[in-house]
């Protein structure tokens, strides 16, 4: 009985060793790259700054500040589509980051970017983030499970505990539904940003097909499917159409 436990603890310790000793060395390099990119930005060398930030993005060293600063650099470099994309990424990592929110709003207004309208549920679920709803669902579930076990073994079953069980069960189910709605909604996993300029959404996968909507850079779309070099997407104004795959990038990496 004790041998497996010992093995488990040893494995956990081995896993933690790189975090404890190897991480600071790698993060020192990342910090240096980040600081240099910030210096380039401050000096007005925006393409250089963008290259520095993008190298960090490619090495999967992500945090909200990185994407926010990258968004600023793209904005200064005259690319509002990618600026909006990176602000969205910063907010995807930290939905409460006020700077990213403010800049996103400003750039979106400047670029006349179109936004997807969330459905009723999404508009009324803005009190918590998707991850917070996930934790809430889990906590309420375990609370309900504990009360259920207590009631199962108890000789007396007070009404107040039964009520608590129902309440926590409802909260858990509601939070799980909220997670699903937010994940599948307009700001969910399939959200993408148009990075090309004035992209025409079309009725079919051909440049000669009829147009559906003109999408300014930075407009939000929701990717529904992919066919070759074309994306079929839900567009603002409740429209749907095909756009070239290279003209949009998903928010989540």
């Amino acid at each position: 009985m004790r041998a497996p436990l010992l093995l488990l603890l040893t494995a956990a310790a081995l896993c933690l060793i790189p975090k404890a000793f190897g991480a600071p060395v790698a993060h020192a390099e990342v910090d240096a790259t980040f600081a240099k990119a910030n210096a380039d930005y401050a000096a007005g060398h925006f393409p250089t700054a963008i290259a520095g930030y993008e190298s960090l993005v490619k090495s999967r060293q992500w945090n909200p500040s990185l994407f926010y600063d990258l968004g600023n650099a793209y904005f200064r470099d005259g690319d509002p589509g990618r600026a909006i994309l990176n602000y969205e990424r910063a907010l995807a990592l930290d939905p409460a980051q006020p700077e990213a929110r403010a800049n996103l709003q400003l750039v979106r207004d400047q670029a006349r970017a179109l936004e997807l309208s969330g459905n009723w549920a999404e508009q009324h679920l803005a009190y918590l983030t998707r991850d917070q709803y996930a934790w809430l669902a889990a906590a309420a579930f375990w609370g309900a499970a504990a009360i259920f076990c207590g009631l199962y073994f108890s000789r007396r079953r007070p009404v107040v505990w039964i009520f608590a069980l129902l309440l926590l069960g409802t909260i858990s189910a509601g939070a799980a539904c909220a997670v699903y709605e937010l994940e599948a909604g307009s700001a969910g996993n399939d959200l993408a940003i148009v990075t090309g300029r004035n992209i025409q959404a079309r009725l079919a996968t051909a440049e000669s097909a009829g147009t559906v909507l003109l999408l300014p850079a930075g407009s939000e779309i929701k990717i529904l499917s992919t066919r070759g070099n074309w994306l079929y997407a839900a567009l603002p104004n409740d429209l749907r159409g095909w756009i070239p795959a290279q003209s949009a990038e998903p928010v989540r990496l």
Binding site: H27, V30, F34, A35, N38, Y41, A42, G44, F46, R60, Q61, W62, N63, P64, S65, L66, Y68, D69, N72, F75, R76, D77, G78, P80, R89, A92, L93, D94, E99, A102, N103, L106, V107, D109, Q110, A111, R112, L114, R130, D131, A134, W135, A138, W142, A145, A146, C149, F153, V179, E183, N189, L213, N237, V251, R252, L253
Partner: protein, 616 residues
Amino acid sequence: MIKMTRFRLFFLVALLALAATQRVRADAPNVTAVLTSSETEVDRPVQLQIKVTGDRSATPPSDISVDGLDIRYTGQSQLVEGRNFRFTYSFVYSYTILPLKAGTFIIPPQVVQASSGRLRTPALTLNVSPNDDGATTPRRRSGGGSSALDEKKIVFAELIIPKKTAYVGESVPAEIRLGIYTRIPHRLVEGATLSGQGFTAQRMPNPEQSTESINGRPYDIITFKTAITAVRSGKLEISARDAKAIVQIPRRGGSRPRSPFDIFGMDDPFSNDPFAGVGEQKEVAFSSEATTLEIKPLPPNAPPSFTGAVGLFSLATDVKPKTAQIGDPLTVTATISGRGNFDRVTAPVLESDRGWHTYPPGSSFKPDDDIGLSGSKTFEMVLTPNEPKKAVPPLIFSYFDPLKEAYVTLKGDKLPVVVEGGATAPATPAIASAFTTPPPVTARPTAAPQAQDILYQLTDHGPWDQNFTPIFMRPVFWTAQTVPFLGLIAFFGWEMRRRRLENREGQRLAAWEHETAELQRKLRRADDPPDQYFAEALRLVQLKTALASRGRGIEPNTVDAETAVAAFDLPDEKRDRVRELFRRSDELRYSGRPNGNTTVAEQTRREVLELIDSLA
């Protein structure tokens, strides 16, 4: 109660006997014949009814021939009449008479074969006048087959278009009227469709139904309404085609229906139940005559804002909110009302969109009639001002008026608004230039924050290696779930163990109680030798002591005299007796059993039992 029942039974029997008597009296058969109307006109049928009373097996005439009249057997019905408990049973044989020409006709007496002999109907006179068309004979007769009535008289279709000329794109109302002769059982199977080329038609809503008298004949009229729009100029030939109805035409010949219980209408030549088995069902397809519409092309030199709307329209506009900042959205509502081809009515355009950014409009149409020819179409356009404004420019909408035969351009009012924020707009030249043409390197903006500019860079950062995976798809989330899961499992296991232990303790106590009861029964018997008797008494005291102190986990075998004394609240005298019992038991156990079958004295046994009973 029994008397009452007997009285009712007697009354019922008497009633039936009386009815039977009357029935016997009514058995003498007779026959009458009547016409539902002795006056009619050509093509307007009347009914002949031959009523035979008092004979169930009468045979009506199978064929009645009168020159100028088409007489057909349509069925029979049974009639039961009661008057003063006198019931008569009659059979009514019905014939439809369709006058073929005007004049006075005598229907001669008809012979009815009854079981008692031949009965004769009276002769009847029918006056037939020409119909409203002045025809003294039917205008058309079917060529042959089993159809007895003229299909043109039974069904008709007509296409009504109120105009003879129209313009390309102009929506013209049209009505398809399908008529079916009311007195013929019928069912419309399929409505007519518009046939022709060079036009489009609106989807036809549910038809209206009414009854009309046409040339003195009642018709069920089904009216389909639509609107047609020509797509090319020239002559347009339109007709309503391929309407289909199933009608029932009376059969020639007087064979009686198979079932004697078939009931037919008495006042109508046909039953109200369509296709109930009388006559012949026939599917009739009918179409209207072609109608010609002259389509004229729209005149040249259409205004730029003309998009194809033809009709008569009016324009109303509004804007909300009335005050805004630069870049804030304003919603302009334009309502185009009137009559015309609303499917070609598009959103009005701004007279000048300089300084405004426009988004694609949304629209909704509220029709005022069934076919969408008149109504109101509302457009909502979102505009964002790029600079300070005092009004939204007027909206322009052009259409072609077919009455005036000219293009009309409607111009909405200037919509006053207050757009502020102009002082800060020039503060973002760097941003504006960034969107248009890449500025030279020397003109690159600095990172210094400005009004209406993006915020500063962030040099502080949180932990690296963050990712976009939702928390519920990360291992840490599910690892965290193991904590409450294990807690729950531990709680479950602990609770199960506690229950099991409780159960084991209960079983042990039950065994002690069982042994206690058994020993008490044994001690009351006088046949045990003293050493066994006192050993059992000692064991009983130990058990009672263990049961009395069950919370302390005392085993019976470990109970000595002092433990037993301490477990019970006993007076000193009884304490001594408990000690004496333990001492005596030990003495007998270790000193060996005396010779002979001696037993415990009655007095001693009573005292021991009394002592044990007091241990509670």
